[in-house]
Subunit: 212 residues, 2 copies
């Protein structure tokens, strides 16, 4: 399985979103040009990105929408469901536990963990919540390879270390902590702080709030 | 107020995180070199980024941690609280309504909106939830400039249009939808689908799952 460039991977879900809308609207075929218009990505780039899925379009006719959807989903491995563990059942953890889209995108949270004893042995959205004491043992026993981190930043590194020691290969990190892990571990950060920094500063610049 | 480069803005919260940990540990002064080590950003870049905050370090002594924290927070406008509206009280919307960090980062959600009549005129985490009928009116009356979008992708563009018509200048978009809005509107996307695409594909490559 060849490595697909990072930016291509990040764009594929946008194409998928647009393709699913076309499908809903009853369309059968679509051109790269049309995908380009609806996603605001340059046509040449769309063609290049789609070439990674292995699907070849017909000149002047374009791509079969149904086939292209399946090809992109295969490419992203979204048709296989991978099991994962989530650590940190706070507001964000709960949001992910209830997020229906995860299933469509190949992830199933099979267990969650939290240090709060009141949460131990309860369920949220049908997902069991365990105490942290059971974490390492269950992780290695169930051969889970993906961990979701929704703990406070202070606790992130310690739990990430525990994950890696017990066989986790990829971490979806929702904390602002910069994780230091072996190079072969896949880390995907969803950094809301960075996003909020950009938003706050740009709006201040826009409103000409000047504190300098 | 001068525009700060995008990547600098995205790094400032990381420095802040590290500085707050140093402060907690009782340190008073810090060098750019030390910040570089803890954030994994090159020293030259750290210096450049910090120069945007207007704080000048002393050679061989470094920066006063307390002053640097205040300077970065001012830079990000995190010491001013901006009011915002949230639309879409699902799992993710609720997570943001309960996310204490928002206050520390200059945002206060003063009202939320949802199409579900069962939620109308209820409260979550002390924040009132209104029906969408009241949205435009309250938005323009309360002079709210920031909107948070946590609705399904299909509904995103319509609500974003309504936001902009009623004075919103910046949208924090948690949907996968690509919003088409006037150029001067600030859009900050938190794209979980892209992030999940990278994660899923990289793990499949790693586990040598081959569907080609």
């Amino acid at each position: 399985m060849d490595a697909i460039p990072l930016l291509t991977l990040k764009r594929l879900p946008k194409y998928l979103d647009v393709l699913n809308r076309f499908k809903k609207a009853g369309l059968k075929m679509v051109s790269a040009t049309k995908i380009a218009v609806f996603t605001d990505v340059h046509m040449t780039q769309v063609r290049k990105d789609l070439s990674f899925t292995g699907v070849v379009g017909t000149p002047k006719i374009g791509h079969n929408i149904e086939q292209l959807i399946i090809a992109i989903e295969n490419c992203l491995n979204w048709n296989d469901i991978s099991s994962c563990f989530l650590v940190g059942v706070g507001h964000l953890g709960k949001a992910l536990m209830g997020y229906q889209e995860l299933h469509k995108k190949g992830l199933r949270i099979i267990a969650a963990f939290d240090t709060n004893p009141a949460l131990s042995d309860t369920y949220y959205q049908g997902i069991p919540i365990h105490s942290m004491e059971k974490f390492s043992n269950l992780l290695s026993r169930l051969h889970v390879h993906i961990g979701i981190l929704t703990v406070p930043a202070d606790a992130a590194q310690g739990i990430a270390d525990q994950m890696v020691e017990n066989g986790v290969l990829a971490i979806w990190n929702f904390t602002p902590a910069k994780l230091i892990l072996p190079e072969d571990i896949i880390i995907e950060n969803v950094d809301m702080s960075s996003s909020l920094a950009v938003l706050s500063r740009r709006i201040a610049e826009r409103l000409h709030i000047d504190k300098a």
